[in-house]
């Protein structure tokens, strides 16, 4: 039980996917302009990450390992994640149009996100079982959403700040991201995995 909690917490804070592992930087910079959209994206990522983590883990352990086809894991994960997200989108549109609209374009965008594939591969490297994979996926998703929300909050304030002309736009965003990443380094002693 404690081990699961450690996996969960370390995925959120210590090994934050965006700020420590530098995965999923594209949506981190792209959708962090408004807190509202960041929240939508964050929710979509938490949802997809947890699901994808579990499914890819099951396929790896139940199909690829017994058949001794470990070298196929990357292409299999891509296939599984892409069709999974599509499936979720189709089902969601029918079952809950409100949630579908809230997640909007972010859901299909996540399909090609490196953070998801990175998550599946890290599950393999760390040798997680299915339950550990669920917690790892959930933690990673929450960590991503957290980083996105912090960034969006800062960027909303930055719009009111008097930024020097040469630093406006992408430049100050990257500097902010770097400082945030430095701040998250402070968590690195929290747990040891």
């Amino acid at each position: 039980m404690l081990h699961l909690f450690v996996i969960f917490l370390s995925a959120i804070l210590v090994n934050n996917f965006v700020l420590t592992r530098f995965l999923g930087i594209c949506p981190f910079l792209g959708v962090s302009r408004r807190v509202e959209t960041a929240l939508g994206m964050g929710m979509a990522v938490i949802f997809v990450m947890t699901l994808a983590s579990l499914v890819t883990n099951l396929i790896y352990n139940l199909v690829l390992v017994p058949l001794n086809l470990l070298f196929l894991h990357i292409i299999t994960f891509i296939l599984v994640i892409a069709s999974l997200v599509q499936l979720v989108e189709i089902v969601l549109e029918k079952i809950s149009p409100a949630l579908y609209r809230a997640l909007g374009i972010y859901l299909p965008l996540i399909t090609t996100n490196c953070a998801i594939l990175g998550l599946a591969l890290l599950n393999v490297i760390k040798g997680h079982n299915a339950i550990q994979a669920i917690f790892f996926g959930l933690g990673a998703g929450i960590g991503f959403a957290l980083a996105l929300l912090i960034m969006a909050g800062i960027r909303e304030r930055l719009e009111l700040a008097d930024v020097p002309v040469a630093l406006q736009g992408a430049a100050i965003t990257l500097i902010t991201a770097g400082l945030l990443s430095l701040a998250f380094m402070g968590f690195s002693g929290l747990v040891k995995l």
């Binding site: 199909v63 058949l67 196929l72 299999t76 069709s83 499936l87 189709i90 149009p97 040469a166």
Partner: protein
């Protein structure tokens, strides 16, 4: 032991087949109804996704139309033809909107006198960050062609160092206007032929020094215009297109020849 090549192909193929058939089943089972009106309207729209209507692309506009959140004549690039089509699909009346096109209000259109040698990113927005660009005139067109890139209709080209807008192709969507860092492009009524080709709000003495064809704010055009259609604001002449009759008196009298009559 099965040949690993055959095994891997069949496993991957099987997974693909499984995922594909699952998706096909789901898309049949969970089919969501799309309003046929939305599709019909989408057919009629230009599908340039320029966003001039204020909605996210043509599909967003089509949806808004069906939900009665948008006007039938909201599609600016489509003009009268599309507005009529959309109105007939929706069964509403439409008022025709006057067609407007983009016009660069700078005589030199990118070939004006420079004050230093700019070597950098070939983009107006980048150049404008450096002392407002390499042109001597702060209000001048920089001619690096950000508008060319952004035009969804390919109406803007660079010919011999000058930006040219093809009046036939221009639909007046206004994308070039929002990207131009110098705000030197304006929407003008298509059938009006007389324009002040200057954007400079500098005093006449400064304009004279840096540009032979700039508006010096002398006010002669204001005095000679028989219709009272020209006003002077910030050392720059503005034509009120509603009053202008294209008599051409101002074109003749302008000392710097910055008021132009386009041969229509």
């Amino acid at each position: 032991m099965v040949n690993p090549i055959i095994l891997s192909v069949s496993v991957l193929g099987g997974l693909g087949l499984l995922a594909g058939s699952g998706l096909a089943y789901a898309s049949k089972k969970f089919v969501s109804k799309i309003d046929p009106k939305v599709e019909a309207i989408l057919e009629a729209l230009p599908r340039a996704n320029c966003g001039a209507c204020g909605f996210a692309g043509c599909s967003g506009f089509a949806k808004a139309l069906v939900e009665e959140k948008a006007q039938a004549n909201g599609c600016i690039p489509g003009g009268e033809g599309v507005a009529n089509q959309v109105a007939s699909i929706l069964g509403v009346e439409v008022e025709v909107r006057e067609k407007r096109i983009a016009k660069i209000l700078c005589y030199h259109r990118g070939a004006s006198q420079t004050q230093f040698d700019y070597q950098g990113l070939e983009s107006c927005r980048a150049a404008a960050l450096l002392f407002g660009g390499d042109k001597a005139c702060l209000y001048s067109c920089l001619g690096l062609g950000d508008c060319i890139e952004v035009c969804p209709f390919g109406a803007i080209t660079l010919i011999k160092g000058r930006i040219e807008i093809d009046e036939e192709k221009c639909t007046g969507c206004g994308k070039c206007i929002s990207i131009c860092p110098k705000e030197v492009i304006a929407l003008v009524p298509e059938e009006k032929k007389v324009h002040v080709l200057c954007n400079s709000k500098d005093k006449g003495a400064i304009v004279r020094k840096i540009c032979k064809e700039g508006c010096i704010g002398c006010g002669i055009c204001v005095k000679v215009c028989p219709e009272g259609a020209i006003t002077l604001k910030d050392n720059l002449a503005y034509i009120n297109y509603e009053k202008c009759t294209e008599c051409g008196v101002c074109v003749e009298k302008c000392p710097t020849h910055v008021i132009e009559m386009v041969n229509g």
